[in-house]
């Protein structure tokens, strides 16, 4: 089959690889009908996430039709079912899964020993990601083996298109979780840094959850236009001061809820000297991530507020103002998304027409164009915000 394969920094290839095979009675194989390039795939593309190996199949946002199942599906999945695959693999039986903390499932990371050493305690297995999270082959391919498939799936009705439901696997629940864990009140100002695909979903979620005003921060006009269409007040940080604007919108008090939908690769510019220092340190491996957004959120957030972090961070960050955070009594909530916790509810919202996540798709291409589309997405060429691949 064909698949997009990681060969090193900025080196993704459309390779011919062997077909996946059932390894365990709880496995299933799907024929992938749609998959997407996610913002966090760019962190792998740039080799900022440790423990990737040449030959790893990329992709953690995918859906398709079940074509083969293991013997232990317990009637929950059968050939012909149309499913979206959550990017977090969950067993459904461990203590964490029973608490719906699916992204920290205790049993699905097949490289648990390595992850225990790196993180202290292992987290769940993830598709198409680092070997610290199991090194499971991803879904930017024609076929995918889904481990623990009896639990790790979202059945979707034929009445909805692939484009409407594909993002249930990652960015939609990620944006939703980011907003929900802010405990949004009707009087709240919710500030969202980053208007990429996760930021766009976060903005829509915050609007649905009824924040008084949602403010979107980015520097790409196309992304800001999409954020505005979704109900956000926009701030272009290259043209105006984020802190001044947020204070102005909140009568000088700062937003109650701040959401970082940027993560480890924050924009580097002369106007933000800390980003230059972070970039220099990152180049010589003195720091893993560029946490400018975290610093800005901690500074501008209203005392007693909540900082929500759906953006991906990989390791060590410097100069985080813990003194400000502690004295202001800020609450931090973060983590990989507990996808299955949210998807029944979100699927219902799509079916009822409350939201149609396909609005974010700007490019649809074949799998063979995938390597080029990584660059188009990274460089924000051709007004690219979200790429869907059709294997």
């Amino acid at each position: 089959m064909r698949a997009l394969v990681w060969h090193g920094k900025e080196d993704i290839r459309c390779d011919t690889v062997s077909d996946p095979e059932i390894e365990h009675p709880r496995d299933a194989i799907i024929k992938v009908t749609s998959c997407a390039i996610c913002g966090s795939d760019l962190h792998l593309f740039h080799n900022f996430i440790p423990a990737m190996m040449p030959g790893d199949v990329m992709g953690h946002e995918m859906m398709g039709e079940v074509i083969e199942t293991g013997s232990q599906m317990n009637g929950r999945l059968k050939k012909g079912d149309r499913i979206v695959v959550p990017f977090t693999i969950n067993c459904g039986e461990c203590d964490q899964c029973k608490r719906s903390n699916f992204s920290v499932c205790e049993r699905t990371n097949r490289n648990k020993d390595m992850a225990d050493k790196a993180f202290g305690h292992a987290t769940a297995g993830l598709f198409g990601y680092t070997h610290l999270t199991g090194g499971y082959p991803g879904g930017q391919a024609e076929y995918l083996r889904v481990p623990f498939a009896d639990e790790t799936h979202i059945k979707v009705p034929d009445s909805l298109t692939d484009e409407q439901v594909l993002f249930l696997g990652d960015i939609f629940p990620t944006g939703w979780q980011a907003a929900v864990q802010c405990d949004i009140e009707p009087t709240d100002t919710v500030a969202v840094w980053g208007c990429g695909p996760v930021g766009q979903m976060t903005i829509r979620s915050a609007v649905l959850l009824g924040g008084k005003q949602v403010v979107a921060i980015d520097c790409i006009p196309e992304r800001l236009s999409m954020a505005e269409a979704g109900g956000a007040i926009t701030i272009n940080f290259q043209k105006e001061s984020v802190i001044e604007q947020l204070n102005e919108l909140t009568a000088g008090k700062g937003p109650e809820k701040c959401i970082d939908a940027v993560g480890l690769e924050s924009h580097v510019s002369m106007g933000q000297p800390d980003t230059l220092l972070d970039r220099a340190k990152q180049m010589v491996m003195l720091e893993n991530d560029r946490p400018h957004v975290l610093r800005e959120m901690i500074y501008v957030c209203r005392p007693g507020g909540i900082i929500s972090i759906p953006g991906v961070y990989s390791g060590l960050v410097d100069k985080i103002p813990m003194g400000q955070a502690m004295n202001k009594g800020l609450t931090f909530r973060m983590g990989q998304t507990h996808v299955r916790r949210w998807t029944d509810d979100l699927l219902r919202r799509i079916e009822e027409g409350q939201i149609d996540p396909s609005f974010v798709i700007t490019h649809t291409v074949g799998l063979e164009e995938g390597p080029e589309m990584y660059k188009v997405f990274r460089d924000k060429q051709d007004s690219c915000i979200k790429v869907v691949l059709k294997p």
Binding site: D15, E21, H338, R341, W342, I355
Partner: protein
């Protein structure tokens, strides 16, 4: 490399059979090679500065050469990074400094003038490669300001923005009124809860 990593994969995992087209362009590979060249040259300039000045007839300028070595290594790291454009630009600036410095060795009383001329020619050649790589990188990564599409019609709310505002909250409050529960939004909105 994939031959080795294929061996570490489990039986049912896909393994690379043949490699296809890469996202890495020839210009990316050129930039990468220039980055490694920069680091190599920088190390030579730092640790063999006296031999370089001797070969070029530039005795007494060893510290200059060592400083240039530090500059080369910095440029090399930048060129190997994701921000290769900045690294290549710094390499071009460095090339100009190298050329200016080597030009001082072209005086008639320098017995090593021929070596200096050869070094100048080499620097000029590398400068050309730096310019080619920078040009390709700049053209590809340039965001076309003012030419982007507007997505102002894409609200994502089929029933309209006004109807969407607070829709999830209203449903939750209605449910609460019916059920008389006082549980948090997080659990209600999330189905299974956390």
């Amino acid at each position: 490399m994939t031959f080795l990593t294929n061996m570490t994969r489990s039986e049912g995992d896909p393994k690379v059979i043949t490699s296809g087209p890469s996202s890495l362009s020839s210009y990316d590979r050129l930039a990468r090679n220039l980055g490694w060249f920069s680091i190599g040259l920088g190390l030579v300039e730092i640790f063999a500065a006296d031999r370089i000045t001797g070969a070029l007839g530039m005795h007494g300028k060893e510290n200059h050469v060592r400083a240039f070595g530090v500059r080369e290594i910095t440029s090399g790291f930048m060129t190997l990074s994701v921000d290769k454009k900045a690294g290549l630009a710094s390499r071009i600036a460095g090339d100009a400094l190298d050329i200016a410095t080597l030009a001082t060795a072209m005086r008639s009383d320098n017995h090593k003038r021929d070596n200096a001329a050869f070094a100048l020619l080499m620097v000029a050649g590398v400068t050309l490669l730096d310019i080619i790589a920078t040009g390709a990188t700049t053209a590809r990564r340039k965001v076309q300001k003012g030419h982007g599409r507007s997505y102002g019609e894409r609200s994502g709310f089929p029933q309209g923005l006004q109807a969407a505002r607070g829709m999830a909250r209203k449903q939750f409050e209605d449910q609460q009124a019916i059920q008389g529960t006082a549980s948090g939004l997080t659990k209600s909105g999330g189905g299974a809860g956390g």
